[in-house]
């Protein structure tokens, strides 16, 4: 699973990366987490509200920081 956290580095983006890492760690998921900070690349995904979460090149969440549990739920539904 390839996970990308889109965001220029604002507080919300850091938070999203943290909860995502938390979720991946508790699930014991084999996933690569990458940060995307380039604006052209971010908008290339069709995202206009940062932060956003991209899993396997698909935008699954944008514009808010969910809880680690919500991210886990999201990743579980995608992993199965």
């Amino acid at each position: 699973m390839k996970i990308k956290v889109l965001g220029p580095g604002c507080a919300n983006c850091v938070n999203l990366e943290r909860v995502t890492r938390e979720a991946v760690a508790t699930m014991g998921l084999d996933a690569q987490i990458e940060k995307v900070t380039d604006f052209a690349a971010i908008v290339g995904y069709g995202v206009m509200r940062t932060p956003a979460l991209v899993v396997d090149e698909k935008v699954v969440l944008s514009g808010r920081v969910p809880t680690a549990a919500a991210v886990r739920e999201l990743l579980e539904s995608l992993a199965s």
């Binding site: 220029p8 604002c10 507080a11 604006f39 069709g46 206009m48 808010r64």
Partner: protein, 351 residues
């Protein structure tokens, strides 16, 4: 489990009953705030309401609680209502609109669309790449931070409906006119070229689709937590300064420098406000204390608008997509609008 998750209702009845109880508790706390501090500070502790210490401490305690309550209430309600709107939908509404009508719509949508200035750059690229005219995009980007729900909540709580409507009306006017002016100036040449080359890829996800009432309420609770965590230091410093001014500053100290008699007061207030980075929550207690000391409302509103609409960190972010010439023009046009509004209000309503 987070607070928001624990508060999540399991059944519709429990959800609406929970909301009702929360609303009743909120109103009770709001009503009891003043009598509680009157009793605690003046009767129990025995402070003198007429003394500097007494009025300063009372102002600090009463105001902190009142502002916290107003913020929790208004942020929650606004966030739940805004969850029906999204930047994606706003862009779709603005696509293909001509200047003029487009600017008016963009300014209005800037108020109701959930948006944080940290998303200003991707939204700017997204709008321009989708064919929204530059001036119309600017109207949106100006009105969104300028007309701020936190400021509306606090203005209404401290000064009533009149100044609140003035503030919203002035903000909309500035956003519309500044967007029109920037559109006329043909500033496209000062936008970084990669913006026009960006192709929108991927499927657009509308983050508000398929939300249930429970989701919206949970988003509201989360947002209250996020905003309060972010602004409480500003708030405490603002209220502390406000209390100090309230209790200690000599009565004519501010009016003699920045009162109605000084024709440069608005100009200076705006010039000080532009580089200052705070938010409405930190500024409003100060505005209230200064207003009590006799400073005119126009000067204070102009100061607050300059602080919230133009900030150094946001301008530095915008530098990624805009050339310095355009940033300077942007600051100049918006700053001039705020100054004009300040003088207009001072002339019309005085103090």
């Amino acid at each position: 489990m987070s607070v928001a998750e624990r508060l999540r209702a399991r059944t519709p009845t429990r959800r609406w009953v929970g909301l009702g109880v929360a609303a009743a508790g909120w109103f009770a706390a709001y009503e009891l705030n003043r009598p509680l501090w009157d009793w605690l500070l003046f009767d129990v502790v025995g402070l003198d309401p007429e003394s500097r210490l007494g009025s300063g401490v009372h102002f600090f305690c009463y105001d902190s609680v009142k502002i916290a309550l107003l913020l929790v209430g208004i942020i929650f309600v606004v966030t739940v209502l805004r969850s029906f709107m999204s930047v994606e939908r706003t862009r779709a509404l603005l696509g293909g609109k001509r200047e003029g009508v487009g600017n008016v719509m963009a300014a209005g949508l800037g108020v109701i669309t959930p948006f944080c200035s940290c998303s200003a750059v991707p939204a700017f690229i997204g709008f321009v790449a989708a064919g929204v005219p530059l001036g119309v995009t600017m109207s949106f980007l100006i009105s969104s931070p300028l007309i701020n729900e936190v400021a509306i909540a606090l203005l209404f709580g401290m000064f009533g409906i009149g100044p609140t409507l003035m503030y919203v009306g002035a903000g909309l006017t500035i956003a519309i006119i500044a967007g029109l002016v920037l559109g006329r100036l043909k500033v496209e040449r000062w936008v970084e070229p990669f913006v026009f080359e960006t192709r929108l890829g991927g499927q657009l996800i509308d983050s508000t689709l398929g939300l249930s009432w429970d989701d919206r309420i949970q988003i509201g609770i989360e947002e209250v937590g996020t905003i309060l965590r972010k602004i409480w230091p500003y708030l405490l410093v603002g209220i502390g300064l406000g209390a100090a001014i309230h209790g200690w500053a000599p009565e004519d100290f501010f009016t003699s420098y920045a009162g109605a008699s000084n024709p440069f007061a608005v100009l200076i207030a705006v010039l000080i406000g532009i580089p200052l980075y705070s938010n409405a929550a930190g500024i409003m207690p100060l505005v209230q204390a200064l207003h009590d000391k006799g400073l005119p409302m126009g000067t204070l509103l102009a100061f607050m608008m300059a602080v919230v609409a133009l900030s150094l960190p946001e301008l530095i972010l915008l530098r990624r997509v805009l050339r310095p010439q355009l940033i300077a023009t942007f600051v100049g046009v918006v700053g001039a609008g705020i100054i004009a509004v300040g003088y207009l209000f001072n002339a019309v309503i005085g103090t």
